[in-house]
């Protein structure tokens, strides 16, 4: 298997993990919005309310930075990272 194929396979796995986490916090948990809202969550807000106001939003920010770093590591591993002076 060529270097490029392996790189792309790893990239695709990372994409699937990223989208799975994205799916959970943008869609999955809101299937249970009514039930989840009965329980008190962070800072005393009901869980569902907290996720819509801060939780999901903040998780997306962290997720993107984590994704960017992981992808960078994959690129470096296979020597596809950009040179700094480019």
């Amino acid at each position: 298997m060529s270097n490029q194929t392996k790189h792309w396979e790893k990239t695709r796995s990372l994409l699937i993990i990223t989208l799975a986490i994205w799916f959970v916090f943008s869609i999955g948990i809101f299937l249970f919005g009514a039930e989840m809202n009965e329980v008190t969550g962070p800072f005393g807000y009901p869980w569902t309310y907290w996720f819509t106001c801060q939780g999901s939003l903040g998780i997306f920010v962290i997720l993107i930075f984590w994704f960017a770093n992981s992808q960078e590591k994959i690129d470096e591993e296979f020597g596809f990272s950009e040179r700094e002076d480019e």
Binding site: W22, I27, F30, L31, Y49, T52, I64, F80
Partner: protein
């Protein structure tokens, strides 16, 4: 332009700018104490900020194609994040979002999740690859990846439909704020707004827009956060509202069950001015079905990843790596405002409805409320209304009506903050609407000038001539948008959501599959773009003209139907026709790795 001192000095330049702006706020606060009138403060805020933006636009003037189209590809990660945040957060986010949450609660907060979650798709599916491609515009990618003028032209059509729907709303918002702050009729204010918008973008193109957007972000975020923190502290609700408003949220729930949501009769409601609404939905309870919430969030997420004015911001970063990081910073800067909107809605609602607070009006006598200064002002502006439906002389929860915009614009005044804050908020709203309008007009004008004029009509045109065409188009599109905005056909928020649906109907799958599915070919992409756009538009028209719709897809989520049709059409047609040639396959391989030369040259 080489990587210059200017880029290295950016933190200092914008640091001084921020300091200067805070200084200006303080000067205005002192002037207010010394008797400057509210009207003069409003004018000073709007005029001063617009002057600064115009100055930046003039300083960024350029005669080079890559500076005009992609800001010379040297915008640092964090600054591009700020510019994207301003580009992204429109008049709707700034002026209408807190109001929407105030009136509709949970069902509306799907937009918060949708308008942030979409960036995960942008970062992982598209932005780095399109950056590697080296295109100037989104249709540039479609045209090169799939080949052929028809594919390129179809992308321009989708882009224009979506962005133009969006831009009329932004010019409308600019006009609304200018007309309130400068106290002139809306029909003229729209054109004043337009001229301010064009001043930022005409001379410098993307470069001018980038540096004004950073400046606009700084204004709008200060204007949004300062009142939230101030009101929270003044009310004793908590020093850091985001972490400390749980009691207030619970208190609103208590008051709601105490007052009850009384339904007004149709005859009573007919006396309420158009566009105003009362509180009819619980503040923090789950008041929408899972599908209603999820479908709206999903439509906004896929729309985010298809809107060309956002995507083209990531063409300006120095590298692929920087493009990815930049998406994270964009969302961080957006998060600062979005996470504050529900807090503002909470504070605003509690100050109005809690009878134990001095600012509360529910339970007071109608005559007393009608005598309050701010009530008279906002009533005169047709944004507030009370009426004694049950004739008991006291104001009930169902007898108080407000316009969505008033939640952001009027709350500082209601909570008893000095007028200087209201002036600041007006400047912030203006910055939000202007920055988005600039990004959108530029996206349309660039697509038409680069993709239709240069790539299709006259490929031999010289740079100077291309840039003249681009600028003429900028003005023409701006005026067309302003003319339609002056007619006030659709509300601000409605047209913004439609724009997302149009964009995802026609562009989401052709863009994503262009990178992630090698087998996707020209015929499939054209079928996907035109089929998706046609299907989405048909569904919208059908529902608007009394159609019942299906699967709970409404006129706000018609993109879900459009993009499904687009996906199916694209896959079937692609598989039925020949696979892309070797050269195209090699090009896709090159796009998938960050290293190496970009597909399109630096100047093209």
């Amino acid at each position: 332009m080489k990587r210059s001192n200017f880029i290295d000095n950016l933190p200092r330049v914008y640091g001084i700018y921020t300091g200067g702006f805070i200084g200006f706020i303080i000067v205005m606060a002192i002037a207010e104490q010394m008797g400057m009138t509210a009207k003069a403060i409003g004018i000073a805020f709007v005029a001063f900020t617009v002057f600064i933006y115009a100055l930046i636009g003039w300083l960024s003037r350029t005669a080079q194609a890559d500076a005009y189209y992609v800001a010379g590809r040297q915008v640092p990660t964090v600054f591009n994040g700020m510019a994207t945040a301003a580009d992204w957060m429109s008049g709707a986010s700034f002026v209408a979002m807190a109001g929407g949450i105030y009136f509709k609660g949970y069902g509306y907060m799907a937009l918060l999740v949708g308008w942030t979650g979409g960036y995960v798709l942008v970062a992982s599916l598209l932005a780095p690859y399109l950056r590697k491609f080296g295109c100037y515009t989104v249709p540039d990618f479609i045209g090169t990846r799939y080949g052929g003028n028809l594919a390129r032209f179809s992308a321009v059509v989708v882009l224009t439909v979506a962005s133009f729907t969006y831009v009329t709303a932004q010019i409308n918002a600019t006009g609304t704020i200018a007309s309130v702050a400068l106290d002139i009729p809306f029909q003229y204010a729209v054109y004043i707004g337009l001229v301010s918008i064009l001043l930022c973008s005409m001379l410098g193109g993307m470069r001018g827009v980038t540096w004004t957007q950073v400046a606009q972000y700084i204004v709008l975020i200060i204007a949004y956060l300062l009142p939230v923190f101030w009101i929270s502290n003044k009310m004793g609700a908590g020093f850091f509202p985001h972490f400390m408003l749980a009691d207030e949220v619970a208190r609103i729930g208590e008051l709601e069950s105490q007052f009850g949501f009384v339904k007004n009769s149709a005859a009573d409601l007919a006396t309420v001015p158009k566009g105003l609404a009362g509180i009819t939905k619980a503040h923090s309870a789950v008041n929408a079905t899972p599908w209603a919430f999820i479908s709206l969030a999903l439509a906004m997420m896929m729309g985010t990843a298809s809107l060309p004015h956002v995507m083209m911001r990531y063409f300006t970063t120095p590298s692929v790596k920087a493009a990815r990081k930049s998406v994270g910073w964009s969302l961080f800067f957006i998060f600062l405002l979005y996470s504050s909107a529900p807090m503002l809605a909470t504070l605003s609602k509690l100050s109005l409805i809690d009878p134990t607070l001095s600012t509360g009006i529910i339970g007071k006598s109608i005559a007393d409320v009608q005598a309050i200064d701010w009530y008279q002002n906002w009533n005169a502006a047709n944004l507030m209304f009370v009426s004694d439906f049950n004739g008991n002389g006291t104001l009930e929860l169902n007898e108080f009506f407000m316009g969505g915009k008033a939640v952001v614009l009027a709350t500082p005044e209601i909570a008893g903050l000095p007028y200087v804050i209201s002036g600041l908020v007006a400047a912030g709203g203006m910055a939000a609407a202007m920055s988005t309008a600039d990004g959108l007009i530029l996206a349309i004008a660039n697509a038409i000038s680069h993709d239709v004029y240069y790539k299709i009509i006259d490929p031999k045109a010289e740079t100077a001539k291309r840039l003249v065409v681009a600028r003429v188009l900028l003005v023409v599109i701006g005026f067309a948008g302003a003319t339609i905005a002056a007619m006030e056909i659709q509300g601000i928020l409605g047209s913004v959501i439609w724009a997302f649906d149009f964009a995802m109907s026609g562009l989401f799958f052709p863009l994503v599959l262009g990178v992630w599915w090698k087998r996707a070919n020209r015929q499939g992409a054209i079928a996907g773009m035109l089929g998706g756009l046609a299907a989405g538009t048909w569904y919208l028209v059908w529902v608007r003209t009394g159609g019942s719709g299906f699967l709970g897809i409404t006129q706000l989520t018609f993109g879900i139907f459009g993009s499904a049709v687009s996906l199916i059409a694209m896959v079937i047609v692609s598989l039925m026709t020949k696979e892309p040639d070797k050269a195209t396959q090699k090009m896709i391989d090159a796009v998938r790795v960050p290293s190496g030369r970009s597909i399109l040259g630096k100047q093209h």
